[in-house]
């Protein structure tokens, strides 16, 4: 187990190093020049000032040199300053990480809370009308463009019914709980609807496999109530592959957060990545992208660990090939 964790951790570090280099190189290829933008509002700036600023920020140096310089600072905890926010990068990212965590966590819980009963109901009566209906709903959820879903929800709940605010987040500390929930309702609903379809399909197919097993027949033969057979025996085993797939799909959930946060002006990591790339705030963009990758890799690792923890038949000992 320790060996497995260490090797996966090393792999993750390699992936992050490669990613950080590639993103640094790509950033050099983006339109717009941060120094030009910095001086755009200053009529007294001379070309000499621009050259001096370029030297200070290192934008005139080749990508490899720039990267090594960034890496040297990063290992000492210095990630540079944000151009858009004029604050150190960690100070900009910290609160947004929390906001994204709230959004993703709530949406994930809501999606799971809907997917479990729907998937189980569909699997109990395969090919019935209920199964077909759930199936169609799943396909609808998988196929809906997230930004359009957000637009429709805004149109219905914020514009037509005027029940909920269309954007933003309740101010921290200032807003009441109700206000916080009202602001979170639409973005959480958007993300949850966009992921519930996939989750339900996984639950359904895993349950179909389990319900055909011998131990289910044994449990029924012992006279156990159907409810207990389905929810206690079958679901527990069906959850093993489901948990794994959900953890693997963390990257997809994060991609969904980017669109949702941008649509609802939710101050999280997704919106930050989009805004920093669009606004030439490269220090922030780089660290935010790396964090997103790191979280995805962590999701994958958790998937493997959860798989072994839930299923005693799987161990981390080297398998014969």
């Amino acid at each position: 187990m320790t060996r497995f964790l260490v090797s996966r951790l090393l792999q993750a570090i390699v992936v992050l190093l490669v990613m950080s280099f590639l993103v640094t190189a790509l950033i050099g290829l983006m339109p717009g020049d941060p120094v030009d933008l910095m001086l755009a509002g200053n009529p007294h700036a001379t070309p000499a000032d621009a050259a001096r600023l370029r030297a200070v920020y290192g934008v005139d140096r080749p990508p490899v040199e720039r990267y090594l310089h960034w890496l040297g600072g990063a290992v000492q905890g210095d990630f540079g300053y944000s151009r858009l926010f004029s604050r150190p990068v960690p100070e900009v990212i910290g609160p947004r990480l929390v906001n994204t965590g709230i959004l993703l966590g709530a949406a994930f819980l809501l999606a799971v809370a809907l997917a479990l009963p729907l998937g189980v109901a569909a699997a109990r009566r395969p090919w019935s009308l209920a199964d077909d209906a759930v199936n169609l709903l799943c396909f609808a959820g998988i196929s809906v463009p997230p930004f359009w879903l957000a637009l429709l929800l805004i149109l219905l709940f914020a514009v037509t019914l005027q029940w909920l605010p269309a954007s933003g987040m309740a101010p921290v500390g200032g807003g009441s709980w109700v206000d916080g929930l009202r602001h979170a309702a639409l973005p959480v609903a958007t993300l949850a609807i966009a992921s519930v379809g996939g989750y339900t399909r996984y639950v359904r197919s895993a349950m179909l496999v389990e319900l055909r097993q011998d131990y289910i027949r044994t449990a029924r033969a012992k006279g156990m109530t159907e409810r207990r057979v389905v929810w206690r025996h079958a679901l527990r085993n069906a959850l093993i592959p489901v948990v794994t797939i959900m953890a693997l799909e963390f990257g997809a959930l994060f991609s969904g957060a980017l669109v949702t946060e941008t649509m609802f002006a939710w101050p999280g990591m997704g919106k930050l990545i989009y805004d920093s790339i669009m606004g030439n705030d490269y220090n922030v963009a780089l660290v935010a992208l790396l964090l997103a990758t790191a979280m995805t890799l962590l999701g994958n690792l958790l998937a493997d660990v959860a798989y072994a923890a839930l299923d005693p038949r799987i161990s981390f000992r080297a398998e014969p090939r």
Binding site: M19, L26, L136, A140, W148, L155, S255, G270
Partner: protein, 292 residues
């Protein structure tokens, strides 16, 4: 024949095929509709903004006074063409990678599968945004080439395909692994057929079904990705319409002209759900053992 009957039993898949055929016909017929209505879809008429549906403009006009129906049809041409082209490219790459990895196995296979794992593990959309924001002129591409309409179309096809091939590769690899152990493949090897012939003549026909299913399902994803990127302003660039970029400004117009926000998204939604249901039906028809 059995496959066709199984497919027909999937009423939703058949309905989806019909819907996709209708949509394709409609977008191909866009120039005909244009001459029938007698309006230019690119003409900007600021006095005629947000016109309600009428005989002249069946779905009304947008914020620049352009005909919404014609823009939807022209946008559909772009969205469907980009989606299908990207999925075909992804299908070809994925099939080639999966076939070679599954057939040769060993280290090569392990490396290729690591790469596909890596692709799946990455946060897709943020990376696509970085890649889509890259300024091609800084890579030495002449400005007039980089700015051309064709270049921006090709670029989005390449970007979306780059991230879409992994599912196909995994499925084809799995099918190849199962097929290469069959007796007729061993017979062909014994008869002296070389690797290329075995892969193309003996294995490929047997992995075609999963490849076709996976490619069909990829079309749904490529159309969605194109629409998201175009919506964010990084895909198809206006004035060329696509269903995604027609929604770019819709958020600000949702109060004054809600239908402008509804139509393009509805068409994306219907197309993608139809493609996915079609892929599901194809899977049951071509490969009844897979799935439940």
């Amino acid at each position: 024949m059995r496959g066709l009957r199984r497919f027909a039993r999937h009423r939703l898949a058949v309905a989806s095929a019909v819907l996709l055929a209708l949509l394709t016909t409609a977008v191909i017929a866009a120039p005909l509709v244009e001459s029938a209505l007698g309006i230019d879809p690119t003409a900007i008429r600021l006095l005629d903004r947000f016109a309600p549906p009428s005989a002249e403009h069946p779905l009304g006009t947008d914020e620049l006074g352009r005909d919404v129906l014609l823009r939807l049809l022209h946008g559909g041409r772009v969205s469907l063409a980009v989606g299908v082209a990207a999925a075909l490219a992804a299908g070809l790459i994925g099939t080639a990678v999966g076939l070679v990895a599954g057939y040769f196995g060993g280290r090569f296979d392990a490396l290729l599968m690591r790469v596909t794992d890596g692709f799946i593990a990455l946060p897709l959309l943020p990376l696509l945004i970085v890649l889509a924001a890259v300024d091609l002129t800084r890579l030495g591409v002449p400005a007039d080439v980089a700015g051309a309409e064709g270049a921006s179309l090709l670029r989005i096809v390449v970007l979306v395909a780059l991230f879409g091939w992994t599912t196909v590769a995994r499925l084809v690899r799995g099918a190849t692994l199962a097929t290469k152990r069959r007796d007729y493949v061993r017979a062909a090897t014994a008869l002296g057929a070389d690797s290329r012939r075995i892969m193309l003549a003996h294995i490929l026909p047997n992995v075609a079904a999963p490849a076709v299913v996976a490619t069909t399902l990829t079309v749904g994803n490529t159309i969605l990705l194109e629409s998201v990127l175009s919506f964010l302003g990084l895909g198809i660039q206006p004035p060329l319409p696509s269903w995604g970029n027609m929604l770019t400004g819709a958020q600000d117009l949702v109060v004054s002209a809600p239908m402008l926000a509804v139509w393009p998204g509805l068409l994306i939604f219907l197309t993608v759900i139809a493609v996915n249901l079609l892929g599901d039906g194809l899977q049951d028809a071509l490969d009844p053992r897979a799935g439940t």
